[in-house]
Amino acid sequence: MLSTLQPPRSLSLLPLRRFQISKTIVSAASSKTIDTSVISPPQSQILTTRRSLLSGETTAVEIAKSYLSRIRLTEPQLKCFLHVSENVLKDAQEIDQRIAKGEELGPLAGVLIGVKDNICTQGMPSTAASRILEHYRPPFDATAVKKIKELGGIVVGKTNMDEFGMGSTTEASAFQVTANPWDLSRVPGGSSGGSAAAVAARQCMVSLGSDTGGSVRQPASFCGVVGLKPTYGRVSRFGLMAYASSLDVIGCFGSTVADAGMLLHAISGYDRFDSTSSKQDVPEFQSQFPSVDHFESKPLNGVKVGIIRETLEDGVDSGVRSATQEAASHLEALGCILTEVSLPSFSLGLPAYYVIASSESSSNLSRYDGVRYGNQVMAEELNKLYECSRGEGFGGEVKMRILMGTYALSAGYYNAYYKRAQQVRTLIRKDFKAALEQNDILISPAAPSAAYKIGEKKDDPLAMYAGDIMTVNVNLAGLPAMVLPCGLVEGGPSGLPVGLQMIGAAFDEEKLLKVGHIFEQTLKGSSFVPPLLANVA
């Protein structure tokens, strides 16, 4: 099989050049002038695929084969997928047949998509990386998956994650630990670590993740890809296995802003199967992704950017801080008006998040009782059946959060915990609203550090929880946010990527995509391709 391995055309467009790492910080955004001639900016894999399919340059089957080959090659080291679909080539053949017949192609035709394992795919294992759902195959597609399929997208497989989304490293998967393509000894972040790493390693073109407290954005930062968390309600949650219903959103990974944006467009919109989905119009994002040749000299002239002061204080790695500041300078060079903003409630978010998320999860995970599906342990008595099925089915992190949530909702504690956390949530929402009235977008680091070592924080949950400080507030406020790579810090064989988080007003993903796209296309020395991939290619 390996002899047939060839670098795919769509991939060959990506410059596979490794970065030169300077001693301390690698700044990809040090230049104040816009110069795109040094390195070609990253290309949308979705658009490239479409172009090459329509021109007949290649076939969907060829593309699919090359990706499958790369999965075969890299997967033993990375372990991004819990399941790889056996239908990829068949699905690709159907696309080719459509092309042959001259039928119209959906915007995602031939696009290979990884789907996080907590998003239901009909007939394909969907376990949320939990023993309790081992071998479970849902009888229906999540709305997001259904839309992807309708538009011609091909589900490559199910990506690894922290069990039920509870974790920030993907180490809490019941089945395997995913490695970071930039440094195999490091975590890819989490909980959507498999989806992020798979896109980084070009095992698929784009992928779906879910973001409850940063589970799309933090792994995007760790893996050097674009991670987009839409506004709460923008994408239907139907078919997303609930962790914390009031915070959960399905999000998108891509190697470019355009890819993440086009995937988001495909899955957005009101769904009558999700009462919390919004009827807000979904704008055509594609107009936000002009070619770099069409940029004006100050393409972001007048865009007001607020940099959140509290996100650059103590506890944030100096490399991350510098990269964020460099990114801010780059935005300024593009014409943005930069100001510092303060969110007084910022530090309250983390404890409030853990109370709310744990409370809701303790309820959402009650359905996994072994009675109707999933892991059932034989028992002599009903309570034992519950105890054993759940005791054996759930991992340690999940049990800890169920216990915390059960405690927080118990009579006598409800007011002190759950209700108080909801009050904090209102406060955070208010602070964001005020800041976003003054600014078009807010920026911050995506995480306090770059990817850390596997096992480093495994026995220190509080340290791991603290890593979510940059992202949880956005979920509490329900706002859209995007993380995109902005620089590298020292670590690993060739540096570790650092992401910049951009936060927008509710339902204004458009602005994030516009700013993000221009930022990405003009970032000097862009193209965040992990070393692993360069070796493979």
């Binding site: 907590n118 998003i119 239901c120 009909q122 969907s126 949320a128 759902l133 479970y136 849902p138 009888p139 229906f140 999540a142 949650r237 139907f238 078919g239 997303l240 296995m241 609930a242 914390a244 219903s245 009031s246 009558r272 199967f273 999700d274 009462s275 919390t276 409370s359 809701e360 303790s362 309820s363 995970l365 009650s366 359905r367 996994y368 009782d369 009675v371 109707r372 599906y373 059932q376 034989m378 028992a379 002599e380 008595e381 009903l382 059946l385 519950y386 059960t406 909702l409 118990s410 009579a411 409800y414 759950y418």
Partner: protein
Amino acid sequence: MSTTLLRTFQPNQFSLLGTSLLRRRRSNNFSVRFCGSQTTTTHEAKQSSPTRVAPKNHKSNKLDEILRDYEAVIGIETHVQLSTLTKAFCSCSNNYGSYPNTSICPVCMGLPGALPVLNSKVVEFGVRLGLALNCDLSLKSKFDRKQYFYPDLPKGYQISQFDIPIASGGYVDLDIPLEFGGGHRRFGITRVHMEEDAGKLLHSDTGDYSQVDLNRAGVPLLEIVSEPDMRSGIEAAEYACEMQRIARYLGVSNGNMQEGSLRCDVNISIRPIGQAEFGTKVEIKNLNAFSAISRAIDYEISRQALLYNQGKADQIVTETRLWEEGAQKTVTMRKKEGLADYRYFPEPDLPEVILTKEYVDSIRASLPELPEAKRRRYEAMGLGMQDVLFLANDVSVAEYFDAVIGKGAEVKLAANWIMSDIAAYLKNEKLSINDIKLTPQELAELIAAIKDGTISGKIGKEILFELLAKGGTVKGMIKAKDLVQITDPVEIEKMVIQVVSENPKQLEQYRSGKTKLQGYFAGQIMKMSKGKANPGLLNKILLEKLNAKD
């Protein structure tokens, strides 16, 4: 979208559940030991329309004496299963009696990733019932999750309403039947809230395994909580009866107790008369008939009063007791150790329920006349309480009666026809009033025809049964059967003369004092007229002839 979703789901749903059940059955790994198999008792007690039970009189005098010193405080929680076409949060059909697990989908099975979507009919029915019970409506209410584990509860929580019910602070008025002392009562309604039903557990005979039927899971319910305003079994049974009546009048439920469409849980405590604080509250479940409510409460009052009287009041504990129909007593089901903590919190998958004033007003305007208003109206028409209660009891009967008097029939006559001959016919034929072929228009015609003398009352009763069974018009039938009453004195006189002259022997006996023979003559003449002779006229003329001195 839903159709494809459900269609694609169909092939799997059965195998999913079927295989897991099979597995369980083969391996006998699911042996559940509940506190008794009472939970699965099938209920054979028949109960279709409200029946009333006379209080038992076999209590000893001593017990009666004891009971005189205590007062019972009774509150009722009523679950009304709504007759919506689909379930509360999914599009599964809401059918009673379907084959197990055929009316289920990912949502009501609690599959991972499935989300509830509120059926707007549930809100409408909640508003209807709330208004009918004179409640204040919450223009902004919400759903909450009530959390506990049980195999018939697929999600591990029940979607319910906790601190903000859709309706609260109402009351219901009713009349106690005369045979139970009569009188008008008003009982407070604490709240009405929306929630979903759970599935059903079917336990194997051997007790080795249990099976779950989720057809009922997600079926909408309204829970009505009363104030602790009732003082006797009869009052409680009448309250429950009125709930059924109102639900049926509103068309929100069939209110069928055997099918579980109307379920009552009773909370009861007793206290020595004059004591302000309440005694220890006991809950009684498994009450599948109004008579059971009444008897279970009377039993429970006696049980508790005896314990008090024997100085064993401490043996009355907070617990749930089951009514055993066979043994006619309550038995402990489970003791409540401390308050159950259901860890309620707002349901994040559903938005708040917002009612506009216009919406509420439009529903208020569409409400039918309710039982209490009907009873008061009938009373004002001059009907006695027994008639009032009978006619207003069943909404179909009441509507029929209203239609008959709407066609101009005399109130008392219409009531009599419905309550006697028609009611007897319905009972014999096991029919409802909606099944009969006699239209209200024709009943009014019939009453009028008798009243104006076109036909005799006797003929009226005869043709009634044909009209009930086959339909047709009164006029048509009178014509076809030549049933018009003979009211022409000349014609009747002819018949009288003929009969009298044909029976000289009887005439002689009559005239010699055996006046009872008048009946014999009358019968002969009626026979000759084929029952059509006007009886009054006939007797008048007959008497004249019999007493004539010729």
